[in-house]
Symmetry: C2
Subunit: 271 residues, 2 copies
DNA sequence: GAGTGGTCTAGACCACGCG
DNA sequence: GCGTGGTCTAGACCACTCA
């Protein structure tokens, strides 16, 4: 950390780094950051988050504790946490504390899935049925490697599954995961786990998906895809190509989904 | 406004409403709001925004001025403006001031359009060519009325246009606008205006689109649509149904777009 | 150099959740 | 009743823009 900015009355000694025991980050300098104090604090909290010091669902230390740990005012910690909360990395609960965000919550199941039934409440539809069609270890094609920031031929896990809503097959997904981070992942694990796949990856492998980018197109399914989705091959479907990222914008999943939109639609809000 | 919360040392007289001259809002009570002070301030600023006290692109008063006007601290005004900035209603520029957001800026042309070329930079593609195919006064169908919160048979303006990128017709749009708010809108106005349509509506009618919701599906174009987009009728396209809202969540536009996704894709980021 | 937004602090009190 | 996050204030100084 660089020389911390001005403390009006309490001039901080130049090298006074936070007293936190900062674990060595995976692939970056300790904290380059010539940035506002609260940004630096945010970075330090982020490091603890990604190092697993606080697990998903757990509470992080209170603002007062963090302020003491980092030797800054509570207001500065607050602003750092505000940004983390705005990015959905933590969740604030008044009177209780601030918690590490997780995919394993009833309220926000399928945080990243924007498909909604055309009619009725999402809740009347009930949870999705998942069925794993395939799950195997293979090697990254050039395309998959590029999406996952790997080299061609690096080990990847490839899976295919179907999500059904109210008994209707609605989503067909092909999923690629970097083999290294998910050693030992089995089809059983994917099939048996109760809850979203991202919750399972979080729990079993400590990898948290934090944000994703999607490219959406209209396509016709091939024969096999149409059969699996139980639609005619002339029925257009949404092709949703997703790259999901962990902390530090590291891509951790490539997913190609085909969404039926005869009974559902992709919902988006734009500001 | 309810009794304003606690001023530590400067107890505010109970009825001390901000000294701002509040114009009567269109269809709501002066400010129900049993909410934090900064939320009430935000509401008051919002009223000035929607009443046109400050026009798009103009600067709003400085934080210090607003603090004086509303008799609160600068920090409270700041928090109110922070939220407005987060919602893209205003833009802060350090050293210059805070400005009313507008659709008429070079940087953020087509703020609501999420379609991007598959390859190359969006800027290499240049601006879109617009051609108006149709623009007429008509009456709202039940469906259009529901979307725009009108009654069936209310006057609406219906338009159809094509957006082309690099000479290729890419988007076909049918647009419905409530007739009352846009009296006197002509096809010439739509065709001649340099810049996004929302910028024109902003300038000519004082109606600012602030947010939109989209429902996206994959469909096949009908014959006419295919002809206009210069594609085969067997080419699936994205159907994007957008409802755009002004302040206070009042729907002001229904738009049905067909997007070609053979050369472009709909891009979305999810958190 | 004046004016604007941006950062930081310190301290007070409020609203909530839980034992 | 205590601890948590949430609100509000007051005052200082920084960083940027422009005349």
């Amino acid at each position: 950390m660089s020389s911390p900015p001005h403390h009006p009355d309490n001039p901080q000694p130049p090298g006074a780094a936070p007293s936190a025991t900062v674990l060595s980050p995976p692939s970056a300098l300790p904290t380059p950051a010539f940035s506002p104090l609260y940004q630096q604090i945010k970075g330090l909290i982020l490091q603890s988050l990604q190092s697993g010091e606080w697990k998903p669902g757990e509470a992080i230390p209170s603002e007062i504790e963090l302020a003491a740990r980092f030797r800054v005012s509570q207001g500065t910690v607050r602003k750092a946490i505000d940004e983390l909360a705005a990015e959905n990395l933590v969740i604030r609960r008044q009177g209780k504390g601030t918690f590490v965000a997780t995919h394993a919550e009833q309220q926000v199941q399928y945080r990243f899935l924007k498909l909604r039934p055309d009619t009725g409440d999402a809740r009347t539809e009930g949870p999705a049925q998942r069925s794993i069609l395939e799950c195997r270890r293979t090697r990254a094609s050039a395309e998959v490697a590029r999406a996952l920031a790997l080299r061609s031929g690096d080990p990847v896990i490839q899976a295919r599954r179907i999500l059904s809503f109210a008994g209707e097959p609605t989503i067909l997904e092909d999923i690629w995961l970097p083999g290294q981070a998910f050693k030992g992942l089995t089809a059983e694990q994917m099939a048996d786990y109760q809850g979203p796949m991202y919750a399972m990856l979080e729990k079993e492998f400590g990898v948290r998906m934090v944000r994703a980018e999607e490219k959406i197109r209209a396509v016709l399914p091939d024969e096999e895809q149409a059969r699996l989705l139980e639609i005619a091959p002339t029925t257009p479907v949404l092709s949703v190509e997703r790259i999901a990222y962990t902390y530090n914008d590291i891509p951790m999943e490539l997913r190609r989904g085909l969404y039926r939109t005869d009974t559902h639609h992709y919902h988006n809000e734009v500001h």
